[in-house]
């Protein structure tokens, strides 16, 4: 079952989903339905370090948002 997430961050970064480089920030990312740990690749200059959430009932037009801020 497909789900979509959008990871917001001021820079273009690789998005790690369950430690797998799965997409890039600020673009809709295809993931499998379920609970995922989302983090960013590269420098650890962001907060929070990771976000764990169950991703369900999304579409590409209406993805689940994961927001990281730059430190």
């Amino acid at each position: 079952m497909d789900e979509w997430i959008l990871v917001q961050f001021p820079e273009s970064r690789t998005v790690l989903v369950d430690d797998t480089p799965t997409g890039v920030t600020n673009k809709a990312i295809l993931v499998q339905r379920g609970t995922h740990v989302v983090a960013l690749g590269g420098d650890q200059n962001y907060s929070p370090p990771s976000i764990t959430r169950q991703v369900v009932n999304t579409t590409k037009a209406n993805p689940m948002l994961f927001v990281f801020t730059k430190l």
Binding site: D2, W4, T14, D18, D19, L30, Q32, T35, V37, K60
Partner: protein
């Protein structure tokens, strides 16, 4: 002479009384995604092509091997941009049973195989050779009688080495893959008690802390084609997960504990991994890959749906998943996915329903085992078609071209009769049967609208009128 026989017997009995001589060695270093025959060590994840090509080869004895070979010949004859051919662009071949002979031989020898596979395998009486090697070779017969750890499946692996693979190991397989940029091969068997697919890759061997690299590829093919009742299961040793510092992937507890109702298939995948890791499980007993998935599609389908694999990612290296590629992550963003499913399953003629007489036990067992397999194969293809044709996938910028090569789709009744009449065995194919399979591959590939749509989209070839690949909207 009697003294020599006695000595041999003593040696064999002593070996038999000892511990189980596992055919699979332990992994002597911590699990490392930079080593071993696995997705992450091949050249495929970093290929420059934006087109991804997957082949799946089904079971079905020599019939399946012949149809798979016929498809490879068609791909060799299909030009692609950059003075290449479609066969040069194949990324992954996932195979089962008879199909694994074609996939593994192609992986080892490349296009050279296409010139000799007919005489090397398809028209060789391999089944008779198996019988002779087991029962007319005194050394093997002696071992079969007196060594409790030597079975007919071990004889089969030896015969396949003699016939086709010449003692090549997975180390050799990875070497030729890297040197020639050949496809990543997934030879599928079935773990009997867990009931799951068992892939002959290091990603699957990591949770059992075993090293696939010194093992012969012939053994993987033997495991993949280990037909129940005719051959015994293949036994592999499972080593303690601590010996290779195997680390369960980060998704595992989340999928196992939190997603049972949101996504049952994800939880089921987690329980399969849990089953492999169960400390009570000290050995694996594998049989033909057809029991778990007779068309070899489930592995690639999982890779199109999920990032979950049996290995924890390391330094950007992952198990076999296509999600990053579909999401345009460097080094290999892709925009076209061609999936050719080669299914050599046959349609039976009316036999038992001609009379009111009750069928015999053999016929009933055949029906009881074959019907669920055929239905599951059909459902696997439907699941693929459903997955790739959702509005969000269609509008994602990646186009999917699912192509089905399957006998019921042949329109010529005579040709259908020839290929459906080829039994499931490793007997030599007659000229008529071999030509029928090659012709079937030709017809089925080119009558598929998604194959023609793919050629149209990559080569600008004219799209035959009346054809419509529903999951790949025309762009030219």
């Amino acid at each position: 002479m009697r003294k020599a026989v006695f000595c041999c017997l003593a040696v064999v009995l002593a070996a038999g009384c000892g511990s189980f001589p596992a055919p699979n060695p332990p992994l002597t270093h911590p699990t490392d995604l930079a080593t071993g025959y696995r997705w992450a060590t091949t050249t495929i994840p970093s290929r420059s092509s934006r087109t991804f090509v997957i082949l799946t080869f089904s079971g079905g004895g020599t019939r399946a091997a012949g149809l798979s070979y016929g498809v490879l010949k068609q791909l060799e004859a299909t030009p692609m941009p950059g003075n290449t051919h479609l066969i040069d662009n194949v990324d992954v071949i996932s195979s089962v049973s008879g199909g694994s002979f074609a996939s593994m031989d192609y992986a080892m020898r490349g296009k050279e195989m296409l010139a000799t596979f007919e005489k090397d395998f398809l028209q060789k009486p391999v089944q008779t050779m198996l019988f002779k090697s087991a029962y007319l070779n005194p050394a093997n017969l002696f071992k079969l009688l007196f060594d409790p750890h030597f079975h007919r499946i071990d004889v089969a692996a030896e015969v396949y080495d003699d016939v086709l693979f010449h003692n090549a190991t997975f180390t050799d397989l990875l070497t030729v893959q890297k040197a020639n940029d050949r496809p990543f091969i997934i030879a599928n068997a079935t773990e009997l008690e867990i009931g799951s697919r068992f892939e002959w890759t290091q990603d699957q061997f990591d949770p059992i802390c075993s090293d696939i690299m010194p093992m012969h590829v012939a053994r993987a093919v033997a495991a993949s084609s280990d037909f129940p009742f005719l051959l015994p299961p293949m036994t592999l040793e499972k080593y303690d997960a601590g010996t290779c510092k195997y680390q369960t992937p980060i998704w595992f507890p989340l999928a196992r504990n939190d997603d049972a109702y949101a996504n049952p298939s994800r939880t089921r995948y987690a329980t399969e991994l849990e089953d492999y890791l169960d400390p009570a499980r000290r050995y694996l007993h594998t049989l033909d890959g057809g029991i778990a998935d007779n068309i070899g599609l489930r592995g690639p389908l999982h890779a199109l749906i999920s990032t979950d694999t049996f290995v924890q990612p390391q330094n950007g290296r992952t198990g076999f998943t296509l999600i990053p590629l579909l999401n345009q992550v460097p080094p290999r963003p892709i925009d076209k996915v061609l999936i050719i499913i080669v299914n050599a399953g046959t349609e039976g003629e009316v036999t038992i329903d001609k009379t009111s007489k009750l069928p015999g036990l053999k016929t009933i067992v055949g029906g009881v085992s074959g019907t669920p397999m055929d239905n599951y194969s059909f459902d696997s293809i439907q699941l693929l078609l459903t997955t790739v044709s959702t509005p969000d996938r269609v509008s994602s910028g990646v186009r999917y071209y699912p192509v089905v090569v399957s006998f019921p789709l042949i329109r010529d009744e005579n040709l259908r009769k020839v290929v459906n009449g080829i039994g499931t065995s490793f007997n030599a194919l007659s000229d008529e049967q071999l030509n029928g399979l090659k012709q079937a591959a030709d017809v089925l590939i080119h009558q598929d609208p998604c194959f023609e749509q793919f050629l149209h989209d990559v080569n600008g070839s004219p799209m035959p009128s009346g054809m419509n690949c529903a999951s790949a909207p025309a762009t030219h």
